[in-house]
């Protein structure tokens, strides 16, 4: 290497020499004084200087310029030789001696080996040892993981761990050694043998076994090949279909479709000749397609494109033609297939009847709509739609009635009457229509017709009855309104209306209420009686201004409450009336009621209850903390209140608690106080794997006591987690216990017992 480099540098130098004349001359002129020898040396030096310029060999070697006793051992260099000093060179004496040859060999062998790395320090060695030991142990131990997991999840552990009981041997195996001894047994066995029935292994008779063996290998192979072929073909076909599907050309698709249609027609015609039943099915399919077409709005000139064309149609012939084309297409598609019907008409009139039943209104209209004016077309189509809806008279009117009833139910009973009337009319019309239909129908469906008409009639009757009743009740109400002092009349409501009454309380005609109505008859909701007293009270209370909405709410609540309490309930129809009241029922009752009224005139139960509830709500609300110091930062004194701003600033609002349980229950006060004594029995800390209380609650919802469970279930639910058999030694688990092979020589115990062995092994390696 170094020699090469030197040669290169020399070459480079020789080239450079000519270029660098001047310095050389200068050097030469100086060296001329001292002589040739000197010059040679200098030349050498120069060469070196230049060669060191390339940057790789910058190290300046000490040069021994003159002979001296002191020679630094560090500045020995192999400069001159141009090679590295080899150890063998040191041994080389002036004369070669054979005794050194062996040493030389050894030295060369040492040299051939790579240099030994520095030994790591002790800590690192130990760390590595630990790591290795850990990994090995972990690996060995990991085979216990499933065992540990299983034991942890086990419902019950019984110690000492037993070995698995041997499975109960099936009876055949037990009986295999059994032989027939008695004559009867022998006879039976003979019979069995004769009929080649299985004696010991009852699973398969020889016939069955033979049948199992019937399929040969070749056959199976053939079958497999067949299947493979079919699969391959299918995949090819699929690929092809996919490719074709991706083709975007419209023209191509058109051609394909036409081709398909033609093919289908041909096939159909053929089928008609060959197999009429299948053809009929095909027909049905076509019919279905026609139905779909008729149902959809495709080709009906109702799309976006069609609309735009319709605008253009007046001026543009092409557009008109396009529209015509579309319509003709529709016609074509919706046309009834004549081929089959013509032939079948002669055979039987079944199809005919159907046609009669469902007049093809749509088609007719389309026929009419062949004219050039698209506007006419549009109107016609809408006509057809109407006609279509008219065709099934049940749906639309019913729907309408529903809507009306939905809206009307909230309004007034008058509206209800209207609905009833309308319903009535509709049913009438329905009946007419159905009659017409039935007229058209052949006599085959006589029974159904009768029944349906009967139904209609009965419905009508019921409706009319209802109407009458309504009218009557209205009249009664009117009369009762006229006679003021009649209070809370208990009129025996007709049976039918009872559920209604229960749900939506009828207006209560009380004296109070009438007064109220006189005072403020501006309430939109007539059915709800207005509380007079509460309204007045709220007026009187001075601080109702700031919380007006709340007041309103309360009012609503009160209304509900009043409503709820004054609901006129139907009186009980009892066979046996208590004897005391039996005589002079009416008078007695009235007197009694009067008495009660008088007795409770003073105390308004509802108002008291509401007041109580309000107090309870107030008491349970968290209190705000007012930290204002009067006179701090402003004037203070008697009659001076801290400013509103200050108060706002120093008022700590309490957080709003959860909503009360009785928030929406006007007639109930539910205490919000906690039952501390019961809470002491409740769980207060979530156990480990649970993060939310609801999760834990779910696991303790099933009771485990014997009161709620069957005996078996109770025993199972209360089995102890660990059972130890008394008088047995519980030994630690062994690999054999779990079914592992005991390869314990290389296993964990060995490693654990003498961990030093590993380290010694390592040391040995190092020594080598």
């Amino acid at each position: 290497m170094t020699a090469n480099r030197l040669a290169e540098s020399l070459l480079a130098l020789s080239q450079q020499e000519e270029l660098a004349d001047l310095p050389k001359d200068y050097l030469l002129s100086e060296s001329e004084d001292e002589g040739d020898n000197d010059g040679e040396r200098k030349h050498q030096k120069l060469l070196e200087a230049i060669s060191s310029l390339d940057g790789k060999n910058r190290r300046k070697l000490a040069e021994r310029s003159e002979a001296s006793l002191k020679v630094s051992e560090f500045s020995v260099s192999s400069e001159g030789s141009g090679e590295k000093l080899v150890l063998a060179d040191l041994l080389e004496p002036v004369k070669t001696s054979s005794s050194l040859a062996t040493v030389k060999k050894q030295l060369s062998r040492v040299k051939s080996k790579k240099t030994v790395e520095l030994p790591l320090n002790k800590e690192e060695i130990e760390r590595i040892h630990r790591e290795v030991a850990f990994n090995k142990t972990a690996q060995v131990l990991s085979k216990w993981d499933p065992v540990v997991l299983k034991n942890r999840q086990a419902e019950q552990l019984v110690f000492p761990l037993e070995k698995e009981e041997p499975a109960i041997a099936p009876i055949e195996h037990v009986l295999s050694g059994w032989k027939a001894r008695t004559p009867l047994e022998q006879e039976i066995f003979n019979l069995l043998h004769k009929n080649k029935q299985p004696v010991t292994d009852p699973l398969l008779t020889p016939v069955e076994k033979a049948s199992l063996r019937a399929m040969s290998l070749e056959e199976a192979k053939m079958r497999r090949a067949e299947l493979q072929r079919a699969r391959a073909l299918q995949s090819y076909y699929e690929a092809k279909a996919r490719r074709e599907k991706k083709i975007k050309s419209k023209k191509y698709h058109k051609v394909v479709k036409k081709g398909k249609a033609k093919k289908a027609l041909k096939e159909f015609e053929q089928l008609q000749k060959v197999n009429p039943t299948v053809a009929l099915e095909e027909m049905e399919k076509i019919e279905n397609a026609r139905m779909m077409e008729r149902m959809s709005l495709k080709h009906q000139n109702s799309g976006k494109w069609a609309k735009s064309k319709a605008i253009m149609a007046k001026y543009d012939l092409e557009a008109r033609q396009a529209m015509q084309e579309q319509l003709s297409k529709n016609k074509e598609l919706t046309q009834k297939l004549q081929v089959a019907s013509e032939s079948e008409e002669e055979e039987g009139g079944t199809e005919d009847v159907e046609e009669l039943l469902v007049p093809d209104v749509v088609n007719e209209v389309q026929m009419n709509a062949d004219g050039p004016n698209p506007w006419m077309l549009r109107s016609c189509t809408s006509d057809t739609k109407e006609a279509a809806t008219q065709e099934d008279p049940e749906q639309l009117p019913e729907l309408a009635a529903h809507e009306v009833s939905a809206s009307g139910a909230e309004e007034r009973p008058v509206a209800e009457e209207e609905i009833l009337l309308r319903e009535f009319e509709e049913r009438q019309s329905l009946r007419k229509r159905s009659e017409l239909n039935q007229d058209a129908e052949p006599a085959s469906s006589q029974e159904t017709k009768d029944s349906s008409s009967q139904e209609v009639l009965s419905e009508l009757r019921a409706l009319s009855q209802k109407l009458k009743e309504k009218h009557q009740s209205r009249k009664q109400k009117a009369s009762s309104e006229g006679t003021v002092p009649q209070v809370q009349r208990e009129e025996p409501a007709p049976e039918e209306e009872e559920p209604l009454l229960l749900q939506r309380p009828e207006r209560v005609q009380t004296l109070e209420e009438l007064e109220e109505l006189g005072k403020e008859d501006c309430f939109q909701n007539k059915e709800l009686p207005r509380p007079l007293l509460e309204g007045q009270q709220s007026e009187r209370t001075p601080n109702n201004r700031p919380d007006a909405p709340k007041e309103k709410k309360e009012k609503e609540q009160l209304i509900n409450l009043q409503n709820f309490l004054t609901t006129q309930s139907p009186s009980v129809r009892s066979l046996a009336v208590p004897t005391i009241i039996e005589e002079l029922e009416d008078e007695e009752e009235r007197n009694h009621r009067q008495m009660i009224k008088e007795a409770f005139a003073g105390d308004d139960v509802i108002r008291d209850f509401l007041k109580e509830k309000r107090e309870a709500v107030e008491a349970s609300k968290p209190k705000d903390v007012d930290l204002t110091l009067p006179g701090w930062g402003e004037w203070g004194g008697v009659g001076l209140k801290p400013s509103a701003k200050k108060r706002r600033q120093f008022l700590i609002k309490a957080p709003e608690g959860p909503p009360r349980k009785d928030k929406n229950l006007p007639n109930v006060i539910i205490s919000e106080k906690r039952n501390i004594h019961a809470a002491a029995h409740q769980v207060q800390v979530l156990p480990y794997p649970f993060t939310h209380h609801r999760q834990f609650e779910r696991t303790i919802q099933t009771p485990i006591g014997s009161t709620w469970n069957t005996q078996r279930a109770f025993q199972k639910l209360t089995t102890p987690k660990v059972v130890t058999k008394p008088g047995h030694i519980i030994k630690p688990i062994k690999a054999e216990d779990v079914g592992y092979q005991s390869s314990s020589r290389s296993d964990l115990p060995v490693i654990q017992r003498n961990p030093k062995r590993i380290t010694t092994r390592h040391n040995k390696e190092e020594k080598l």
Binding site: Q153, I171, E589, A678, P689, Q711
Partner: protein, 610 residues
């Protein structure tokens, strides 16, 4: 033999054990050999009667019973088939045509499921999920077992059916007595005790014993089935109410001045002077508490197992003379003169709830055995049935010609009202439905005004105390046909009773556990849980369960510069912030959406409302 449990919601915690109602438990061979013995054997629920007066009624019932079992939809809950390949083929090669355990109808099993799956759980980790799965599997298994053992409840409730269009209320007691077997007919009787005024009465929990006390001091207890008198005394003081304690051996009598306790021989054991002027008594059997309502307005709970007064609560509503207990949760219902009914527990000084029921005062209150319905009658002559499942709204209301003074529910949900000298009974459609007040099921007129009413447990019998004495009426279908022999066995011997007493005392429920929703005890106390968490945070100075702040992972190639780390942190923070804002916005939307419909349509006339 396995006992069949009832779900906790339906009945108070008590065992229902399969037993026939007859004295002698029927054996399987009896039906085959002597089919008529079933009819002839003295059985209480043989009150079934048709207007056709079919003599073979009881026999028919047997057939019905059988067919009911087979009629059950055999929908397999879980087609469990433990196929054992070896056992599949026996020696004969024959296979079990019905492998695995018998299938259980889904709806029957569902009845015993207690885990409320309607409440959604927050996302849970794998470990938690496995625990939940275990709990659910356990529940399913136990419910299937319970459903399977329901087959053992063989007895059917009695019923009364009129011919089509005929009103059952027209059927009088004489007709019923004529139609039923002799043993059942013997259960209809009248005690003419005109001398000592209106009577209050009480059946023991097994339904075997009857105690009654007349206003003028007459107190008696008897085994009413055999009509064997246990004791008869006159306490020489007005008797306001009478009640058996946990067994028929002890009897509490509310006398004019104080509360007295007698044993079944009529010997006075205690005079409790802390309960004075008691008007009504109620005994809570699972808590061993005797609740007394007094004229002075105090509701006092007396623990009869230790003889201590657990709580004396001032109702602050004047004289208390309307009281009943909710058998489902042991809450006491008190009726007041201001039309409210208040619900009490000994653990709370104030009522758990107050319900405004009537415009006038409340005259009678009764709660059905499932704790679902409460019937009240008031001075406004109305009879109302309230739903007690959180809404407290009236389900049905009727005005009675003369308001009902006494009300009582039977075990199967029949409601009886005593109005003057007439007793009306209403029945519902099924067991869990409220009685429909439209048509009475039965009516009966007594010789004097009614003063006390109670249905006899496990017997289709209604006891009525009135001024003329005591009447025992037959009411088909009133009571539970199957009783739990371990819990309340009508045929138990003295030894059995003593053993039961010890067990019941061991299982005594502490008084403070009485609350409106007994299932709430199986819930975690969230408030103290939160508080504990807060305290822990305070103690530690940090939240150990808090989510660790985001720490960006170190990345290589110079992308882990400080600036980029900060940037990444900020990104995550911003994302979280955005989430929060989004959530709060959603909540706001929800609130607005909710608030809108409650506002109702504003009317133009609203501006005049002040």
């Amino acid at each position: 033999m396995e006992t069949a449990p009832k779900p906790g919601k339906d009945v108070p915690p008590k065992k229902d054990k399969l037993q026939t109602k007859r004295k002698k438990p029927r054996r399987y061979w009896e039906e085959e050999t002597v089919p008529t013995t079933a009819g002839a054997s003295p059985g209480p629920p043989r009150n079934k009667k048709n207007r056709e007066l079919r003599p073979q009624r009881p026999k028919n019932a047997h057939i019905l019973k059988k067919s009911r079992i087979s009629k059950k939809p055999q929908v397999p809950k879980k087609p469990r088939e433990w196929k054992n390949p070896e056992s599949q083929s026996g020696l004969s090669g024959a296979q079990d045509p019905f492998p695995g355990p018998a299938p259980v109808p889904v709806e029957v099993g569902q009845k015993f499921c207690r885990i409320d799956k309607s409440r959604k759980l927050p996302h849970s980790k794998a470990k938690t999920r496995s625990r939940l799965e275990v709990a659910e599997a356990e529940e399913e298994e136990t419910s299937i077992k319970a459903a399977r053992s329901e087959l053992l409840l063989a007895e059917e409730p009695g019923f009364l059916e009129g011919e089509d269009g005929e009103d059952t209320a027209k059927i009088c007691q004489a007709d019923i007595v004529e139609a039923v077997d002799i043993a059942s007919a013997a259960k209809h009787f009248d005690l003419n005790l005109r001398q000592f005024g209106p009577y209050r009465l009480n059946y023991s929990r097994t339904g075997r014993h009857l105690a009654f006390g007349g206003r003028r001091g007459h107190v008696a207890a008897l085994d009413w089935v055999t009509k064997k008198l246990m004791c008869e005394i006159n306490v020489m003081e007005a008797v306001r109410d009478i009640r058996f304690l946990h067994s028929e051996a002890l009897l509490a009598v509310a006398q004019n001045r104080w509360l007295h306790i007698y044993d079944n021989q009529g010997i006075e054991l205690h005079c409790i002077r802390r309960c004075d002027r008691v008007t009504r008594l109620e005994f809570l059997p699972f808590h061993f508490l005797l609740a007394t309502a007094s004229e002075t307005g105090f509701l006092t709970y007396l623990d009869v197992s230790v003889g201590k007064i657990v709580a004396a609560l001032n109702a602050r509503a004047g004289r208390l003379d309307v009281m009943s207990q909710n058998p489902y949760n042991a809450v006491i219902h008190l009726g007041h003169s201001n039309g409210t009914v208040s619900l009490w527990s000994p653990a709370m000084k104030e009522p758990l709830a107050k319900i405004l029921c009537h415009r006038g005062g409340v005259r009678a209150v009764a709660v059905d055995s499932t704790g679902t319905y409460m019937a009240t009658s008031g001075l406004d002559h109305q009879l109302k049935i309230f739903d007690l499942r959180g809404t407290y709204q009236p389900l049905s209301t009727r005005t009675l010609p003369h308001g009902a003074g006494h009300l009582a529910f039977s075990q199967r949900g029949l409601l009886v009202a005593g109005m003057g000298d007439v007793v009306n009974i209403w029945a519902g459609q099924g067991k869990a439905s409220p009685p429909s007040l439209e048509q009475p099921y039965l009516t009966h007129r007594l010789s004097g005004p009614v003063h006390g009413l109670q249905f006899c447990p496990f017997e289709d019998v209604l006891g009525v105390g009135h001024t003329g004495g005591i009447t025992s009426m037959l009411v088909p279908g009133a009571s539970e046909p199957n009783f739990d022999g371990l819990e309340s066995n009508p045929y138990r011997s003295r030894k059995q009773r003593q053993e039961w007493e010890v067990k019941a005392l061991l299982e005594k429920v502490p008084a403070e556990l009485i609350c409106l929703d007994p299932r709430a005890l199986a819930e975690v106390d969230v408030i103290s849980l939160e508080q504990g968490k807060k305290e822990q945070i305070e103690r530690l100075g940090y939240d150990p369960q808090a989510k660790a702040p985001f720490q960006p992972k170190p990345k290589q190639k110079g992308r882990s510069s400080t600036a980029s780390l900060v940037k990444r942190k900020r990104k995550v923070m911003d994302e979280e912030h955005r989430d929060k804002v989004r959530q709060s916005l959603q909540q706001q939307h929800h609130k607005e959406a909710k608030a809108k419909p409650t506002g109702a349509r504003p009317s133009a006339l609203d501006r005049f409302v002040r």
